[in-house]
C-alpha cells in the first residue's frame, strides 16, 4: 500500500565479521581434515577416530576461536555449540541410516500391486510380481483405529481428571497410569490372550486392538495431561468469571488452547502402537487374504507380515519384508501428516474467513 521501498533487513546484533567467519570455517574444516588423514594413514578404527581424535580436536579449535572472538565466555559458548552439534548429528545420522537401509532394501519391492494385492497364492518363493501387503495395510489401520477410538477418549478423560479436578484420587490414578506405561508389550498381549476365552473372542482384529490399548493409553494420558497443564489458570478464571459452567469453560476455552498438545498426544500414541508386533502375534492371528471384519477371523497386519517373511531364508520373502517395512514407515508418515493437518484446520479456517471478509469490503 505504501510507496516506500522495503528497507533491507539489518541485523545490528550479528557481530561476526569476515575475518571471524574465515576462522570459524577453518576451525570446522581443519579437525575434519586432520582426522581423515590420521584415519587413512594409521588405519585406526572409525569410532576411535571419531571420538578419540575428531571430537577433542574440534573442541580445541572451537574453544580457540571462541576465546579469540569473545574471551573466556567464548570458550563455554564454543564447547556447548560443538557438543550440541556433535550429538544432534549423531541422532540425525542414526535416523538417516535407518531410513536409508529401509528405503534401500525395501524400495525394490514397491509397485502398485504390492500396495493393492493381498497374500493369497503367495509362497515363500513366489516372485515379487505377485501378491502384496494391501490386506496388511488395511488390517493395521483397522486395528490401530479401534485402539485409538478406545484410548483417546479414556486417555483424555484421565488427563482432564488429573488437571481439572481436586479429587484425592488423582495421585493413585497418576501412579496407575505410569505403571501401565511400563508394561512390556508382550505382557499386554499375553494378558489379552489369557482373557480372550472369557470375552468369547477368537484371534480377531478386536482382540489385537485390545492388546494395543494398554500401550497407547498411558502415552495419550500423560502427554495430554502436560498439554492441559500448560494452559494458564487465568483463562479458566476468565471463563468462569463470565458465568461459564465448568464444562463449558473446559470445552470452549481450555481444550482449544491445549489443542496442539493434545494432537501431539494422539501422534505419540499412534507412534507407540503402530509398529508393535508381539501383542499382535499373540492375539490377532493372521490372514493371507483381506479381512475387514474385526470380530470374525484373523487379520493381517504390517508388523506381523514383516515378522513372518523376514524369518525365511528366501531372497524374495526377505525383500517382501523390507518392502512392508517401508510401507509401514509410509503409513506412519501419512498418519502424522494427517494429524498435523487436522490440528491446523482451525487456523486455516479463520484465515479463509478473513480472506473472504477482506474481499467483500
Amino acid at each position: 500500500m505504501s510507496t516506500q521501498q522495503p528497507r533491507p533487513a539489518k541485523q545490528p546484533w550479528s557481530r561476526s565479521n569476515a575475518a571471524q567467519r574465515r576462522e570459524i570455517i577453518a576451525a570446522s574444516v581443519l579437525p575434519l581434515i586432520v582426522t581423515a588423514a590420521i584415519y587413512w594413514i594409521l588405519k585406526i578404527d572409525y569410532t576411535v577416530a571419531l571420538i578419540g581424535v575428531f571430537l577433542p580436536l574440534q573442541v580445541l579449535s572451537a574453544a580457540a576461536v571462541g576465546l579469540r572472538a569473545f574471551g573466556r565466555r567464548g570458550i563455554w559458548d564454543a564447547l556447548l555449540l560443538v557438543l550440541t552439534i556433535f550429538l544432534s548429528a549423531n541422532v540425525l545420522v542414526l535416523l538417516a541410516s535407518v531410513l536409508a537401509s529401509v528405503i534401500g532394501k525395501g524400495f525394490g519391492a514397491l509397485s502398485s500391486q504390492f500396495f493393492l494385492q493381498n497374500n493369497i497364492y503367495v509362497s515363500t518363493t513366489t516372485s515379487l510380481e505377485y501378491g502384496g501387503v494391501g490386506h496388511a495395510i488395511l488390517g493395521s489401520l483397522i486395528v490401530v483405529a479401534i485402539t485409538t477410538l478406545l484410548a483417546v477418549p479414556l486417555g483424555i478423560s484421565i488427563a482432564v481428571f488429573l488437571t481439572q479436578s481436586q479429587s484425592r484420587l488423582r495421585g493413585p490414578v497418576r501412579t496407575f497410569t505410569q505403571a501401565i506405561s511400563g508394561l512390556p508389550s508382550v505382557v499386554s498381549g499375553l494378558f489379552i490372550l489369557s482373557i480372550m476365552p472369557y470375552l468369547h473372542l477368537q484371534h480377531v482384529g478386536f482382540a489385537g486392538a485390545l492388546a494395543l490399548f494398554p500401550l497407547m493409553l498411558p502415552t495419550i494420558a500423560r502427554v495430554a495431561e502436560e498439554a492441559l497443564r500448560l494452559v494458564p489458570a487465568d483463562l479458566r478464571m476468565a471463563a468462569l468469571a463470565l458465568g461459564a459452567p465448568n464444562y463449558r469453560a473446559f470445552f470452549k476455552v481450555i481444550l482449544p488452547a491445549a489443542k496442539t498438545g493434545i494432537m501431539t498426544a494422539l501422534l505419540l500414541g499412534l507412534a507407540r502402537v503402530v509398529g508393535e508386533t508381539a501383542p499382535l502375534v499373540l492375539t490377532l492371528g493372521s490372514n493371507n487374504s483381506t479381512n475387514l471384519n474385526p470380530f470374525d477371523g484373523g487379520m493381517a497386519s504390517l508388523p506381523r507380515y514383516i515378522y513372518s517373511f523376514v524369518n525365511t531364508k528366501y531372497q524374495t520373502s526377505q525383500e517382501r519384508a523390507w518392502g512392508a517395512a517401508l510401507v509401514l514407515l509410509m503409513v506412519v508418515g501419512l498418519l502424522f501428516g494427517a494429524a498435523r493437518v487436522l490440528g491446523r484446520k482451525k487456523s486455516l479456517k479463520t484465515k479463509a474467513s478473513k480472506a473472504t471478509k477482506k474481499g467483500n469490503r
Binding site: L235, A241, A257, S353
Partner: protein, 262 residues
C-alpha cells in the same frame, strides 16, 4: 436490544470474613456499594483487597481451601443463598482482572461474544452487540477494521480494554475491577478512567487501585483496607472519597493516602 441496559444494583456485604485453610485473611468486612456509584478499594499490598473482591462474585470459592463467613446481598438477595447458582451470580456481576486475559484461541469478535456463549445465552444481533461493547470500552476505533484478528495481536492496553468490553457484553449490573490499569500506559489508563465514568450511568462499579490519584479521579466513595502484622485484614475507614482523602478520621488512613506508608 443491546441498548436496553440492565439497571444498576446495590451490593451490600455483611460481616464478610475469609479464610485460606486455617489462616484468616479478612475479618468482618461490611460495606455498601450503592447503585451507580464507583467505589475504590485501597490499601497496602496483601491486605485482602483482591480476596474481598472475589467474594463479591463468588470467584473466591474456586480457590482450594477457601472459606467464608458473612453474607453478600445483591439488591437484598444473598448471593450465597441456598438456591442461588454461582454461575448466575457471575453473569450479573462481571469482573476485570489485573492482568489482561483475552482468550488466545479466539478472534477479537469471538472474545466479545464469548461470555454469551460460555454462559449459554442466546446471541441476538451479534454485530451490534460487538460494536456497542467495544465502543463502551472505548476501543472500537482501534479495532473496527480487524475484528477477525486474533485477540493476542492487540497491545497490552488494548487487550485490557478488550477484556472490559468482554465483560460489558454480558450487560452486568455490577462490574468488579482489580487494578485494571496497573499494566497500562497513561493514555490507556485515562481512557479506562473515562470509560468507568460513563459506565457508572448503567452499573455499579467496585475498583481496586494502588493509584491514589486514580481513586480520587474515578470514585465516589472509598474503602481503606489494612492488615496489621499477622492479623486478618479489615476496613479501617469507609466514606465518600472526598472525606477519606481530605478529612480522614483515622490517623493510619491519613498516613496511607498521603504516602507515608504502604
Amino acid at each position: 436490544m443491546a441498548n436496553e441496559l440492565a439497571t444498576a444494583s446495590t451490593l451490600h456485604t455483611e460481616d464478610v470474613s475469609v479464610w485460606f485453610g486455617d489462616r484468616q485473611v479478612l475479618d468482618k468486612v461490611s460495606l455498601t456499594f450503592p447503585a451507580n456509584q464507583v467505589t475504590a478499594l485501597i490499601g497496602p499490598s496483601g491486605c485482602g483487597k483482591s480476596t474481598f473482591l472475589r467474594t463479591l462474585n463468588r470467584m473466591h470459592e474456586l480457590i482450594p481451601g477457601a472459606g467464608l463467613a458473612g453474607a453478600v446481598y445483591l439488591d437484598g438477595k444473598d448471593i450465597y443463598g441456598e438456591n442461588v447458582d454461582a454461575v448466575d451470580v457471575r453473569i450479573n456481576i462481571g469482573m476485570v482482572f489485573q492482568k489482561p486475559n483475552p482468550f488466545p484461541t479466539m478472534s477479537i469478535k469471538e472474545n466479545i461474544l464469548s461470555g454469551l456463549k460460555l454462559s449459554g445465552r442466546k446471541i441476538g444481533d451479534s454485530e451490534e452487540l460487538v460494536e456497542t461493547s467495544l465502543r463502551r470500552a472505548s476501543i472500537w476505533n482501534e479495532v473496527k477494521d480487524r475484528l477477525d484478528d486474533q485477540a493476542l495481536s492487540l497491545s497490552g492496553g488494548q487487550q485490557q480494554r478488550l477484556c472490559i468490553a468482554r465483560s460489558l457484553a454480558m450487560n452486568p449490573q455490577v462490574l468488579l475491577m482489580d487494578e485494571p490499569c496497573s499494566a497500562l500506559d497513561p493514555g490507556s489508563t485515562r481512557r479506562i478512567e473515562e470509560t468507568i465514568e460513563e459506565l457508572s450511568d448503567s452499573m455499579t462499579i467496585v475498583i481496586v487501585t494502588h493509584n491514589m490519584q486514580q481513586a480520587q479521579r474515578v470514585s465516589h466513595q472509598t474503602a481503606f483496607f489494612l492488615a496489621d502484622d499477622n492479623t486478618p485484614g479489615g476496613v479501617v475507614e469507609f466514606g465518600s472519597t472526598e472525606d477519606v482523602f481530605n478529612r480522614p478520621v483515622d490517623a493510619r488512613t491519613n498516613d496511607y493516602v498521603n504516602g507515608h506508608f504502604g
